[in-house]
């Protein structure tokens, strides 16, 4: 019908009329690719990977609280992690699967964030030429990508420091022994620049988490008047618990509460 019409109609010399705008057919894609190709789908990816990473930071923090119980407790906790599902699965297998999963989630989180950032930059190629006066957008929401990048760089350091030990002994005495988790922590956080970086990164992580944890509800569309008022409370509480727990470690080490 559209074709007939265009044939009959004299097409305007310059500005063409609007018609047939909903006729284009989208190319068929697989379910996941189809969802992920949209910005809304990438927000789902952000939210889901965010949940996984939130779960990690929470349990990581709780596990680390063991250091207050002494070296033996935390070292055996590390051993426990390696023995997850053992002897059903070989030692370390489940842990590596979890690590792989986490890494995938992190990559997904970063990729979605990066593509959305590019998209959003393209959506306003010419910026406002006068200063904006934001009404509700806050520091947290507007610095997600920066807080995220700093946390990511901290993560790299943190892995090199306490998992691989490459930088664990730099500027500190002793040798890195993987199983001696307690000693490794004390050695690392005893250096004040490392502790400062640790604290800074965790404060940023808290800011990142607060906006992120709230955003999960929006992005996944979990919205119900019954619990809407609690979404901010949850996000704030979650971020606070993680930050307080994590920041306590370097302070405890520097204050000598946790020592070899």
């Amino acid at each position: 019908m559209v074709k007939t019409q265009q044939a009959i109609a004299k097409v305007g010399k310059s500005r063409a009329p609007v018609t047939g705008t909903a006729l284009s057919v989208r190319k068929k894609q697989s379910y996941i690719a189809d969802i992920y190709s949209t910005a809304v789908g990438k927000k789902y990816a952000m939210a889901i990977s965010g949940i996984a990473l939130m779960g990690f930071v929470l349990f990581h923090m709780i596990g680390n609280l063991k250091m207050y119980l002494g070296a033996a407790e935390i070292n055996s906790y590390a051993e426990f992690l390696k023995k997850l599902l053992y002897p059903l699965a070989p030692k370390g297998a489940v842990l590596w699967m979890l690590r792989g999963g986490l890494l995938a989630m992190l990559v997904l989180h970063l990729h979605a964030a990066w593509s959305l950032t590019v998209l959003n930059h393209q959506a306003r190629p010419v910026k406002y030429q006068s200063p904006r006066d934001y009404e509700v957008a806050n520091f947290a929401s507007r610095t997600m990508r920066y807080s995220g990048m700093i946390v990511a760089s901290f993560l790299t350091w943190h892995l090199l420091d306490l998992t691989f030990g490459v930088v664990n002994t730099v500027g500190a005495e002793g040798t890195f022994v993987r199983a001696e988790v307690y000693a490794n922590i004390v050695r690392s956080l005893g250096r004040w620049p490392v502790a400062a970086f640790y604290i800074l990164a965790n404060l940023l992580l808290g800011i990142h988490l607060r906006h992120g944890a709230w955003s999960i509800f929006q992005s996944l569309g979990w919205n119900n008047p019954r619990f809407n008022a609690w979404r901010w409370t949850f996000a704030t509480a979650f971020a606070a618990v993680v930050v307080v727990g994590n920041v306590s470690f370097p302070i405890a080490v520097l204050a000598g509460i946790v020592k070899v």
Partner: protein, 640 residues
């Protein structure tokens, strides 16, 4: 030219006429519909609904709007609601009662057959709009809620908060959008009609101007629908949107479409008064406020004390005094005129002494602030925003303002103008409201015309044209119309005088408002008719339009519209002078009862005054269409 107006009213009893018409109307085979092109100008309620429905049927539709989007048309600003004879409240409503109320409200100056059809299809409108997702107000049981409105003793008004017009327009816009998406409608936005082309007595198409590029192009079609709204902006200050104008109707009129009852313009009693000279438009406050507000002015014209310091004994609650039984709820025209008289006598309130008080202190004392807030909260907030005063503590100031125009292009029963192939729908035609429109009936008429009348009557017109060729846009008539349009717009640019189009518009508005507004006199109208040509002459000599015609130029757009308003203004005054009676909104002070009510003259003026253009709006050619009342009884309105 001596035309005899044939309204083509179908035969049969009044309630059978529409059915009879539909039974006899010629149809176009579904496969042939795509061979016809219909142009719809305007995308408000009437235009969008007509374009969408015609496209659904299979016609090729080209829709034109000067707005950026069809969703912006001024139908959107209607607040109150839409009438329909559903009788959902079981309070005695019926099609016949809606018909009688509308005829009576129009003070017996409308055509029975058209009004009855309007009442008949009103019920279909509600069904259609609900199916489209208009969020009408509901009862807790999920059924539709109704409110009552002026001029009716039943509750038949459907509403969506105070935004009924918006919601209905969005409904029609969505349906139109669907057709645009599917390719059934081609939408030309930001494109304004500048001429209508008539070849061998038939409307063959239109000439339009692209507001973004100034480009003038022609479009040919089998039929053209004008759904271009009313002309209230002739008063400069009105509740109409800034861009509402008469150009489309007027250009059609100049090409041979008759213009009917131009002097029937409605004044709404509760608007926020003008606050300074530079004001650009007036804002309407819902009439529902009069349910709880008391209208008064100080008894002493020189009293400038703040309202709360004027004691009860020195206040004149004039509506309660003059119309004890209706009091503050007297009809629109009656209360408007009472306000005008007191303000004219110097009793007005406010810094410019140009309003009357609408006082809620008694209601707040009686009901409490919370109840008042619940009922009128959003209106109070709107007032506070515009006037900068808190209506909870200071009375609102209100004054009447132009709001709707009952007159428009003359149409017959089929909504066809006197140019074959050219139709007029909605406020642009004159057909249904006589000399005064009832509240909540404008939305009803727009949708009735677009959804349920035009699709039938247009097929009747098109069927015989099957496989006949129509003039294309290279026909000399199109070429000439384009050339005239070019000349017209470059003409405005080339006057290079000293005054802006807005200046002339404001001066024109003052004359029309003073002499052809709420109250008209022979003397005043004659004065207007002597001043208008002089001012128009000045407009043609002293206009200044800056910029060029090749990109967006709102000054140039305005110049064209003001030009047409001038010519319409002359015709309005002519018509008001000719109609030596008072009826509905047309009040000639020479013709009033002892109590100051409108005095109709059914002997001499029970007719529609339709005007043929002679090229000189000062001397149009008047043709009368007699109005015959077979079902409704001619009677005098009373609000005592």
């Amino acid at each position: 030219m001596n035309t005899i107006l044939n309204a083509k009213i179908p035969s049969g009893a009044l309630h059978e006429k529409w059915d009879n018409y539909k039974a006899d109307a010629k149809l176009v085979n579904p496969n042939n519909k795509r061979k016809f092109k219909v142009i719809v100008v305007g995308t408000g309620l009437a235009g969008a609904s007509a374009a969408a429905t015609l496209a659904e049927l299979g016609y090729q539709v080209d829709a034109f709007t000067f707005h950026d989007s069809a969703r912006r048309a001024h139908s959107i600003a209607a607040q109150g609601g839409i009438n329909a004879a559903k009788n959902y409240q079981g309070d005695g409503d019926s099609i016949n009662r809606l018909f009688v109320d509308t005829i009576k409200g129009g003070d017996f100056r409308s055509r029975e057959s058209n009004v009855h059809r309007l009442a008949q299809v009103s019920v279909d409108i509600i069904d259609q709009m609900v199916a489209q997702g208009v969020p009408f107000a509901r009862e807790y049981g999920g059924m539709l809620d109704n409110r009552s409105f002026g001029g009716a003793q039943v509750s038949r008004t459907f509403y969506a908060r105070g935004q009924t017009g918006q919601q209905l327009l969005l409904g029609a816009y969505q349906q139109l959008s669907r057709q645009i998406g599917l390719g059934g409608v081609r939408l030309f936005n930001r494109t304004e009609l500048v001429d209508v082309v008539v070849v061998d007595g038939r409307c063959s198409g239109i000439v339009v101007r692209d507001l973004l590029t100034g480009e003038i192009t022609s479009h040919a079609a089998h039929a053209v629908v004008m759904a271009t709204g009313g002309y209230g902006n002739v008063y400069f200050l009105s509740t109409n949107a800034m861009n509402s104008n008469v150009t489309a109707s007027w250009r059609a009129h100049r090409r041979g479409a008759m213009f009917a009852n131009p002097c029937f313009t409605q004044i709404h009693p509760t608007c926020i008064p003008q606050s300074d000279e530079s004001q650009s438009k007036l804002t309407l406050m819902s009439e529902s406020l009069r349910n709880d507000g008391r209208v008064w002015v100080p008894k002493n014209a020189d009293d400038v004390r703040p309202a709360d310091q004027i004691p009860e004994s020195e206040r004149d609650y004039y509506l309660e005094r003059l119309y004890p039984s209706y009091g503050n709820l007297a009809a629109r025209d009656v209360s408007s005129r009472a306000a005008k008289r007191l303000v004219d006598k110097g009793h007005g309130v406010g810094p410019l002494k140009n309003g009357v008080n609408l006082d809620f202190s008694a209601a707040i004392a009686r009901l409490g602030r919370d109840v008042v807030q619940e009922r009128y909260g959003n209106l109070f907030q709107m007032y506070e925003r515009i006037a900068g005063e808190d209506p909870y503590s200071t009375p609102m100031r209100i004054y009447p303002a132009t709001h709707y125009t009952m007159g428009g292009l003359w149409v017959d029963y089929e909504l066809a103008t006197t140019i074959p192939g050219l139709y007029a729908a909605g406020e642009a035609n004159f057909s249904d409201h006589g000399a005064n429109r009832l509240g909540a009936s404008a939305l009803m008429q727009g949708l009735s015309d677009g959804y349920f009348v035009l699709p039938y009557t247009i097929s009747n017109e098109l069927a015989p044209l099957l496989n006949k060729t129509i003039p294309t846009t290279d026909h000399p008539a199109f070429v000439q119309a384009e050339a005239e349009a070019h000349e017209r717009f470059s003409g405005y640019l080339n006057v290079k005088g000293t005054r802006s189009p807005d200046w002339f518009h404001r001066e024109l508005g003052k004359i029309i408002w003073d002499y052809c507004g709420m109250e008209r006199t022979q003397q005043g109208l004659e004065k207007a008719l002597s001043e208008l040509p002089a001012l128009y002459g000045e407009f043609q000599k002293d206009l200044r339009v800056t910029g060029t015609g090749e990109s967006v130029n709102q000054t140039l757009e305005k110049a064209g519209r003001v030009d047409d308003f001038f010519q319409l203004g002359m015709l309005m005054c002519r018509d008001a002078l000719d109609r030596e009676e008072s009826c509905g909104a047309h009040f000639r002070s020479e013709y009033q009862t002892d109590e100051g009510e409108a005095l109709r003259n059914d002997q001499d003026f029970c007719h529609v005054s339709a005007y043929n253009s002679t090229g000189d709006p000062m001397n149009p050619d008047l043709v009368e269409e007699p109005l015959v009342f077979e079902t409704a009884q001619l009677a005098t309105r009373s609000y005592k």
